[in-house]
């Protein structure tokens, strides 16, 4: 069974703190992993993705994610969060088909000023 798990439904941090949002997957073979951000009531925006190569990928707005095959993880990190980073973050996985992505349940990040 292919799954994408985001174990933390809510994460609260103070502005300027670092944050890590967790994503674990259960897929066989090569997969694409992505992170998206959704501000309240809006569509999703792409942050970054990984398929192969350097396991640490850089995204927009200072976000980065690290792929770990041994841990089946693709955690998202930011060194210093801003209040505008408050949003729901979704991890997604897909096989090399280009037509189907499975999304996790999302993690709501609240940044306290």
């Amino acid at each position: 069974t292919q799954t994408v798990s985001q174990s933390d439904a809510h994460v609260t941090v103070f502005e300027g703190d670092s944050v890590e949002l967790r994503c674990n997957y259960s897929y066989g073979g090569s997969i694409y992993l992505s992170w998206y951000i959704q501000h309240h009531g809006r569509g999703l925006q792409f942050l970054l993705k990984y398929y192969s190569g350097n396991p640490v990928v850089q995204g927009v707005n200072g976000f980065e994610a690290e792929f770990s095959k041994s841990d089946s993880s693709f955690h998202l990190r930011k060194a210093s969060v801003h209040w505008s980073d408050s949003a729901v973050y979704f991890c997604a996985a897909s096989k090399n088909s280009g037509t189907y992505q499975r999304f996790g349940t999302g993690t709501k990040l609240q940044v306290v000023p």
């Binding site: 694409y32 992505s34 998206y36 009531g41 809006r42 569509g43 999703l44 925006q45 792409f46 993705k49 398929y51 979704f90 997604a92 897909s94 090399n96 088909s97 280009g98 037509t99 189907y100 992505q101 999304f103 996790g104 349940t105 999302g106």
Partner: protein, 116 residues
């Protein structure tokens, strides 16, 4: 630059009534197109995808249908709404074909549907 426009922004409909939601992509020819459904506070469920005009594949059965009448247009519809259809509907596009280029989704701003 590519733009994606969804309409309407929001709908309030009665159970049993018909529904039509639309999505238009400008600035990109032959994109892959997708419909997603999101329950309030929930994850995204892919409903349909289309890789070319006139061809639509269903991912889940929710008494909904989709059509792609033009290269840049994707329509989601049903003849009879259910309470369970309430939620947030998102249209998205990606580059054509498969592989890394097709794995990035670009979403519209969504349609909020309330079925009463």
């Amino acid at each position: 630059a590519q733009t994606i426009h969804q309409w309407p922004v929001a709908e309030i409909k009665a159970v049993g009534s018909p529904l039509s939601l639309g999505c238009t992509i400008k600035g990109k020819s032959s994109p892959n197109l997708y419909w997603y459904w999101q329950a309030t506070g929930g994850t995204l469920q892919q409903l349909f995808y289309s890789i070319t005009v006139g061809q639509v594949e269903s991912v889940v059965q929710l008494n909904l249908s989709a059509s792609r009448p033009k290269d840049d247009q994707f329509i989601l519809s049903t003849e009879k709404l259910l309470l369970s259809h309430s939620g947030f509907y998102l249209c998205a596009w990606s580059l054509e074909g498969g592989g890394a280029s097709a794995e990035t989704l670009y979403f519209g701003s969504g349609t909020r549907l309330t079925v009463l």
